[in-house]
């Protein structure tokens, strides 16, 4: 078998393998939707999570962690989430009646469908399962707990209009394990998603 034939077979094989799998890339929420203006105000309710022992119940860690998206105006607040009304609010101290059992955290987002195909997000609030053990970047170690920094970075991706990516290593990849802090840092795929929307 000469070199050209080997090369041809290799190229065909690569094309077949590449075409057999869905493209690896971010996915936006559908219908496509985004906030009207940036920076997007996301507030973290200042009553923290009782399982996090960093002095603020994870509030300070989350306020800092979600800035990783670059288009977030992040602060803490003494006002709890009001569903259906902005600003987006992260609640570390309640499951909102939604996120129980095997749910770690959940984002409830609201929008009006328009004819333009470019809908506006009016509100998005994040709730946390208080029956789960979490830890933050403000704590020295981890023992079977879930990283609140990374989990909230992922949820805020939903808040701003991004769905799940099939790129392993992206913050918006739908899988995370206990004590895994990788989601604290955005991958190129995550940046591509946010740059697509805003």
């Amino acid at each position: 078998m000469n070199r050209n034939r080997i090369l041809s077979i290799a190229i065909i094989t690569i094309i077949l393998v590449a075409s057999a799998e869905p493209a690896l890339a971010y996915v936006l929420l559908s219908p496509r939707r985004r906030w009207a203006t940036t920076p997007i105000s996301v507030r973290t309710y200042n009553v923290g999570n009782s399982t996090i022992t960093d002095g603020s119940g994870g509030v300070n860690a989350v306020v800092s962690a979600i800035r990783v998206w670059g288009i977030i105006s992040s602060s803490s607040t003494s006002s709890a989430a009001v569903r259906g009304s902005a600003p987006a609010t992260i609640m570390l101290n309640t499951n909102g009646g939604l996120c129980s059992g095997n749910c770690l955290a959940a984002t409830l987002t609201g929008y009006y469908v328009t004819q333009a195909g470019d809908d506006r997000i009016y509100d998005a609030d994040v709730y946390t399962n208080t029956a789960i053990q979490f830890y933050s970047s403000g704590e020295p170690g981890c023992s079977g707990e879930y990283d609140i920094n990374g989990i909230m970075a992922h949820e805020v991706g939903h808040v701003i209009g991004i769905g799940h990516s099939n790129v392993s290593g992206a913050t918006m990849y739908p899988s995370v394990s206990a004590c895994n802090t990788a989601n604290r840092t955005l991958a190129t795929d995550d940046f591509n998603a946010v740059n697509d929307l805003y």
């Binding site: 009646g97 059992g101 095997n102 409830l108 099939n166």
Partner: protein, 197 residues
């Protein structure tokens, strides 16, 4: 033993063959989901409707499920009403990203548990408690639902997932019934997948 192993392998294929799109959930072993569920039913989604809760904070979607089979020792009425977070009222849509979607006309197997207020049922363990039923080779097989709230429902991604649905490995419904029976009497079928999805 061999049958259990085959069941486990098939279930893992069913759960892993399609794009995983759950939000941040901890994956639960099949046995635990089946054991914790109040009802395990095979049925068809009938009428669906959405409404705000009393506090006008959350939109819920309700659905009637016409039940034609109960699994395990569970039994109940011919029609069960289920309620899930998310829906559209007066043009305003609320979605809980990654939560199950309820669609009229779907043939489904559902593992159901009561809401904390006990009023009605929800899908237990979110998407782990829902399977789509498909006819293949004269029998029914169960397939994991590739669509969840917030997912792409139009365009290229929908095509990919619909195609994946048609090609996905299925778990025979009688095998599923045996697995539920075993789970509810404490015979383990799997140890669950690692961590969460």
């Amino acid at each position: 033993m061999v049958r259990r192993t085959l069941s486990l392998v098939t279930l893992m294929l069913v759960l892993s063959a399609l794009p995983v799109a759950a939000s941040q959930f901890i994956d639960m072993p099949f046995d635990r989901v089946a054991r914790e569920a109040n009802l395990v039913v095979r049925g068809t989604i009938g009428e669906t409707w959405s409404a705000w809760d009393d506090a006008h904070e959350v939109i819920f979607t309700y659905a009637t499920v016409r039940v034609n089979r109960y699994f395990g020792e569970t039994t109940g009425p011919d029609t069960v009403i289920i309620r899930e977070v998310g829906g559209t009222v007066d043009g305003y849509t609320q979605e809980a990203i990654g939560f199950p979607v309820i669609r009229r006309g779907e043939n489904v197997v559902l593992m159901l548990s009561r809401w904390e207020d006990g009023a009605d049922y929800r899908i237990h363990a979110f998407n782990q408690g829902k399977y789509l039923v498909r006819q293949r080779d004269g029998g029914e097989v169960l397939i994991a639902d590739p669509f969840q709230q917030g997912d792409e429902r139009m365009g290229r991604e929908r095509g990919v997932r619909t195609q994946a649905l048609d090609e996905a490995p299925g778990l025979g419904i009688e095998e599923f019934a045996r697995m539920v029976d075993d789970a509810r009497v404490g015979v383990g079928h799997d140890r669950g997948r690692n961590q969460q999805q």
